[in-house]
């Protein structure tokens, strides 16, 4: 087997030094009865050529598109070639968690820079080395809010939050009999202020809203912050499209106490949903309640600046069942991709990309609305996603698009019965005018409602 540095002579020497005739003799610690006394019923080893082809066959069984007008939490953006080139250096992608600072300064300094940039994007003061994804980041944020708020056991969640994030929240709240997850409804595509106010009370630890929300609309954090803070609760802004940070004000500056969500847009492809990049940024006052690894700047014995994992007293390997979370491995390499992406883009790049996303989405919406069977549902300010009501047959529309290898927007009815017959559209810098025109052209030809 090409990966194993085995040779008959050397293997013999190893066993002789150990003092056993056969490798199997080292299994003595495993009771005979508990061993597997047959070979695994699986194919035998494959050469690189055979395995590469086998996996290539699988990859090719997925349909390829020349344009995807689907976002909904996984966005197709351009990924600069420098990112793959950098992360494929073995010093980056094969290293373990930087437990030994003197031999891991590369990873540690990267994380410190990454933390700085996530704070910059969100307008908050402290973040960690990453969380799994948008959904689990919401869980960590909600549980942290409960810890911070003390004796408050309810978390209000806007129905505008990504439906799958809400699913993950449900799963993780279920075990906690003492905690309640309560949904706040939508009005005109954004969180219903009246419903929110009705549900705000002394037991509410935090309110979570999408920014922008799943329907693409921007929530007015500043307006929401008023009643929420008045009720002594925390406002948690949840962003599923990090490019929006180049368009809308930093949540921390707009009134949010915490910002969490999904940052896969920074240097990653949709990748069938993972590995993605969960993030959570909080105020300095709450730093000792944050989950996950955190890197801090310090000095070595000679006074030279360096970086270390810090605030470890919060973590599972020290605090065990009292830890702020059980997270250990995180999404380090994806955070590195994001860090490189942000440093390449810089302030101009990030704003410029955001402007292009907004422009493409606005143009797409305008052109789609020229079609007889597309109608607006609201006119909230949006970023690169928006909802239109489609009076035609979605299945027919989808089929027509696929024929031209275009992936249409999301059938919103799947997650929002009240939006039955609506489609969530997305456009990014990757969508050329021509792609948009051909989409419109195709839709124009779709047979009217069946």
């Amino acid at each position: 087997m090409r990966y194993l540095p085995s040779s008959p002579a050397e293997d013999r020497a190893l066993l002789d030094t150990i003092g056993v005739p056969r490798a199997e003799d080292l299994l003595s610690g495993i009771p005979e009865a508990l061993r597997l006394n047959r070979n695994l019923d699986l194919p035998t080893q494959g050469s690189e050529q055979e395995v590469a082809w086998q996996m290539m066959d699988l990859a090719n069984k997925n349909t390829r598109f020349c344009a995807q007008f689907l976002g909904a939490g996984a966005y197709d953006h351009f990924v600069p070639s420098a990112i793959d080139a950098m992360i494929s250096r073995q010093e980056w992608f094969t290293a373990y968690t930087p437990y030994q600072p003197e031999i891991s300064q590369g990873t540690l300094q990267h994380i410190f820079e990454y933390q700085t940039l996530i704070c910059d994007l969100t307008g908050l003061e402290v973040t960690n080395a990453s969380l799994y994804d948008g959904g689990t980041a919401c869980v960590e944020a909600a549980l942290m809010a409960v810890r911070v708020a003390k004796k408050r056991n309810t978390v209000l969640v806007s129905r505008g939050l990504h439906p799958l994030y809400r699913e993950v929240l449900k799963t993780n709240f279920a075990p906690h009999d003492g905690l309640n997850l309560v949904e706040v409804g939508l009005k005109d595509g954004v969180t219903d202020l009246a419903d929110l106010q009705a549900k705000l009370n002394g037991d509410v630890a935090a309110v979570m809203v999408g920014y922008p929300n799943f329907l693409g609309a921007v929530e007015d954090l500043t307006a929401l912050a008023g009643p929420i803070h008045a009720a002594g609760a925390l406002l948690v802004s949840v962003t599923q499209e990090a490019f929006a940070f180049g368009w809308f004000e930093a949540p921390g500056k707009a009134g949010a106490d915490m910002a969490c969500g999904e940052a896969m847009s920074l240097g990653n492809k949709p990748n069938f949903g993972g590995p993605f990049l969960g993030f959570l940024a909080v105020k300095d006052a709450h730093k000792r309640e944050i989950p996950g690894r955190v890197v801090g700047q310090t000095k070595d014995l000679d006074g030279r600046t360096g970086y270390v994992l810090t605030l470890t007293a919060r973590e599972q390997h020290i605090r065990r069942d009292k830890a702020t979370s059980n997270i250990c491995s995180n999404q380090g390499l994806v955070a590195l991709r994001a860090n490189i992406f942000m440093q390449l883009a810089g302030p101009e790049g990030l704003k410029g990309l955001a402007e292009q996303n907004a422009a493409k989405a606005q143009y797409l919406r305008q052109r789609l609305l020229e079609l007889p069977d597309m109608q607006p549902v609201d006119d909230q300010p949006f970023f690169n996603e928006f909802v239109l009501r489609y009076t035609g047959d979605y299945a027919a529309l989808q089929e027509a698009c696929l024929k031209e290898s275009l992936l249409p927007g999301l059938d919103l009815g799947r997650f929002y019965p009240e939006y039955q017959g609506c489609i969530l559209w997305c456009a990014t810098e990757l969508h050329t005018r021509q792609m948009i025109e051909s989409l419109v052209e195709i839709l124009a030809r779709v047979p009217a409602t069946v």
Binding site: G29, T44, N62, M86, T94, D177, D302, V308, Q316, G349
Partner: protein
């Protein structure tokens, strides 16, 4: 080159006007600005302005302060730092995989679904457990999913129960997970070799009596939801009474969770499903060689017995067999089934760290049933070779047979006031990444060494020779070790100040 040492923070390098990214020409009208004034992005304080070449140099130079698997043995115990085949990276980068959208209709992602289904089949056979979910993003997430399955099981039978038993030799994620799943942790005392004590043990220091498994099961009975047991345990020893343990727990219908972080010692040799495990996780970033990425991403699939299957997270991947003509090979189609009434729900937004799962399957196909077993045996041989060469120079603390890793204690060196930390730092001076230190907690000054199957004799010998040289240095010049490392870019770091006055991000001077 590596001689120019300092690499500043990129923020201190930023120069207004530089840029590392050009945007495509905008081919549609510029965006109308419909944002309320107070929601317009105001600006950035830290994002640096640098050209592409400067960004590339920054991350190239930074990378040189890291140690990677291709630099040599990476003996972090419990982390299974094995060879990361480049084929796996290449496959995971195939556009057919990377460009596929998680919200796309099943019919358009048949390759992905077949990939997930196939990997599940491999994990079923490897663990001997019929239920699998690939959603958990890492081991800890797998633990949480597993314990939630246990909870769902008990709830379905009336009550969630109150307690999870965890041996004191367990990894921190175990108790932290139990707590996150709403359980109370009761600690199981372990014997010196990390195995669970059936009987009560009296603490030699404070004379306190700690209840053993038998007592706890007798006293807590049906209050016990389950136990989380690492096997082989964190001392690298197989829990040889595992069957008895699981029988005892099953006698009160408590379930057995196995922390599979050390599966690299069992693949092809023993199957948890065969010795009483009800549910477990695998760390694919350990056992299946997916790269650690400086902290992640990993993947922590959970495997379980039949009776827990109904509770697995949604969606589950199903395979339908398409009708085909006489004698033809049956064709299959795959779909995601979201309709699982008893499911605990979702534990990941989508389907887990898909790109990592692709690498894991590639690893499995490359090794095959024969290669997987060969790797396991070699990992065990390598650990025992190190054990054989270093025992004597370093205290073994226990003599139960080691499997894939060996844990030493610093007691011999402590006599000279040299401790595990000093030994670890000196290894850096010799160009090696240190082993896992001070874990498990039950071993005084633990040095936990896991070479994995990827090391050849010459690398093992070079490492052992260095460890022996250090042991010698301890005898001859103990003070010197307190200064280690001296050849690394930095000396020891002031971690106390780091934690007391945390500086967690750069801010404009």
């Amino acid at each position: 080159m590596f001689l120019r040492q300092r690499e500043p923070l990129s923020f201190d390098r930023s120069v207004p006007g530089k840029r590392g990214m050009d945007l495509p020409k905008l081919d549609v009208p510029t965006a109308k600005d419909t944002r309320p004034a107070h929601l317009k992005r105001s600006g950035f304080d830290a994002l640096p302005e640098l050209s592409e070449v400067e960004v590339i140099r920054h991350f190239t130079r930074l990378s040189k302060w890291n140690y990677g698997v291709d630099d040599g043995i990476y003996p972090l115990g419990s982390c299974t730092m094995k060879h990361n085949p480049r084929l796996n990276e290449k496959v995971a980068g195939m556009p057919g995989f990377t460009d596929s959208h998680p919200m796309a209709p099943d019919a358009l992602v048949q390759g992905n679904l077949e990939m997930l289904f196939t990997l599940q089949e491999w994990l079923k056979e490897i663990t001997g457990l019929p239920g699998v979910t690939l959603q958990p993003s890492a081991g800890a997430a797998g633990e949480l999913t597993g314990v939630m399955l246990i909870r769902a099981y008990h709830v379905s039978r009336g009550a969630k129960r109150r307690v999870i038993l965890i041996p004191d030799s367990g990894h921190g994620t175990n108790p932290a997970t139990a707590a996150m799943a709403g359980y109370e942790v009761v600690e199981l005392p372990s014997l010196p070799d990390g195995t669970i004590s059936f009987d009560d043990v009296t603490d030699p220091v404070n004379g306190k009596v700690r209840k053993g498994l038998k007592t706890l099961v007798k006293e807590l009975g049906t209050e016990i939801a389950g136990a989380m047991i690492t096997n082989p345990n964190t001392v690298g020893v197989f829990e040889y009474r595992f069957k008895e343990i699981s029988d005892l727990l099953h006698s009160v219908d408590a379930l057995v969770y196995m922390d599979g972080a050390n599966m690299n010692a069992l693949v092809g040799v023993a199957r948890p499903g065969d010795f009483g495990v009800d549910v477990m996780h695998l760390n694919l970033h350990k056992t299946m060689s997916t790269p650690h990425g400086g902290g992640g991403p990993g993947a922590g699939p959970v495997c379980c017995v039949e009776k827990l299957r109904p509770f697995l997270p949604v969606p589950v991947v199903l395979r339908d067999t398409v009708k085909v003509g006489e004698g033809e090979v049956p064709k299959h189609s795959y779909r995601l089934d979201w309709n699982q009434p008893q499911s605990i729900g979702k534990v990941h937004t989508f389907y887990g760290n898909f790109g990592i799962l692709v690498r894991a399957l590639t690893y499995c196909l490359s090794h095959g049933s024969d290669g997987l077993k060969e790797a396991t045996l070699r990992a065990i041989v390598n650990a025992n070779y190190i054990r054989a060469r270093l025992k004597g120079a370093y205290a073994l603390h226990i003599d139960s047979p080691s499997l894939h890793e060996v844990v030493f204690s610093d007691t011999l060196q402590a006599k000279h006031d040299v401790h595990t930390l000093d030994i670890a730092k000196r290894l850096i001076d010799h160009g090696y990444h240190p082993p896992t230190i001070y874990f498990p907690l039950i071993v005084p000054g633990a040095l936990m060494i896991e070479p994995t199957e990827s090391e050849g004799k010459d690398e093992l010998d070079a490492f052992c020779d260095t460890m022996l040289a250090i042991a010698k240095e301890v005898e001859e010049n103990p003070e010197a070790l307190h200064q280690a490392p001296t050849l690394a870019p930095l000396r020891r770091m002031d971690e106390t100040t780091a934690a007391r006055k945390p500086v967690l991000r750069w801010t404009k001077a």
